[in-house]
Symmetry: C2
Subunit: 199 residues, 2 copies
Amino acid sequence: MSKLATREKIVEAADALFYEQGYEHTSFADIAKTVAISRGNFYYHFKSKDEILDAVIDVRLANTQLMLDGWEVEGSSPAERIRNFIYILKTNQDKIKRYGCPVGTLFSELAKLNHSAQEDSRSIFSLFRSWLTQQFTLLGCEEEADELAMHLLARSQGVATMANAFPDEAFLDQEVAQMCAWLEIYVARGKSKQAKRQT
Amino acid sequence: MSKLATREKIVEAADALFYEQGYEHTSFADIAKTVAISRGNFYYHFKSKDEILDAVIDVRLANTQLMLDGWEVEGSSPAERIRNFIYILKTNQDKIKRYGCPVGTLFSELAKLNHSAQEDSRSIFSLFRSWLTQQFTLLGCEEEADELAMHLLARSQGVATMANAFPDEAFLDQEVAQMCAWLEIYVARGKSKQAKRQT
DNA sequence: GTCTATACCTGGATAGAC
DNA sequence: GTCTATCCAGGTATAGAC
């Protein structure tokens, strides 16, 4: 098998396992089993377990960027794009109910481990944060855009955590609906500002 | 040293370390160092590491109950009591910024480990949930009381997670203020209902 | 590139002296 | 009750054959 293909398979398997079992709790043996390679083979592709984590975070960053870029389709409005963000909870609800949010739970774990990759994992949050800030700015809420971005991120994180703790509920749907309703306040506010500017 | 005193010291040290470092990442050696006993001595007091975790969860449950009971002081209103809950974030902000919420992060970790104590740790959430539900009911929002309780829990969890990821911000204060403002809607709604009943 | 064998360590847990 | 000594499983990491 080519070098790249195996490396990619390792990262892919590690990505899933780190999400489902946590970073520390996932052993080389676990990854080796799903990729079907020997434990020794890892060290041809990576110097250490930490390097696998770095690669996983890089992949998550890249995939997140791709997702955000994918929402910038022709004719889409910032409100629609923010709604896409809110709907991540709905789209991934099964996994979220089982494992929580991949971004939040990884960051929490690395924070407790005092791991050197903690800052890298925070940058996934930063990616969402700056993107949301941009969308709220486009919506016409420039002064409070970052505050609104952080608020929405926090709401999502909270819903993910509680949906993980109480997965048997209509809770997630309710909260998604409420977040969309909350967004409408700022959509309306942005429109009235635009109207003022045009007069 | 008396049996009880040592046992309590172990639980106390484990409680703090599980919060700061995570359950799995905390070793007997870590606890032994802070309590200043030998590793072998643990097994006089506990059969296994899992039993220490059980004891820690029991202590947290008891302390939470004590805190909630302490808020039922003479003349206090349900609104004030809910505000006390919101203010936990402010009171514990230093630790939250460093380690997140002790309830949420423990549950998340145990969920990933697929640990048998997962349900016990969820019961700490349940304690808050049922208490909040009761307070919202007293406030006059009986139909939606549990929904409001879950909403407030989720907001707190989200704020704790994001304050952990971005601790350098005025973010936590803003969110606490917004949660208090949000509460006022339901305080007002409850009052108008009461007024109707009295006519 | 991938394997097997193995070194080395840390973690939880046990046995038995004191 | 607390200690020391020790066991054993499992983890990361290395060496070297293929």
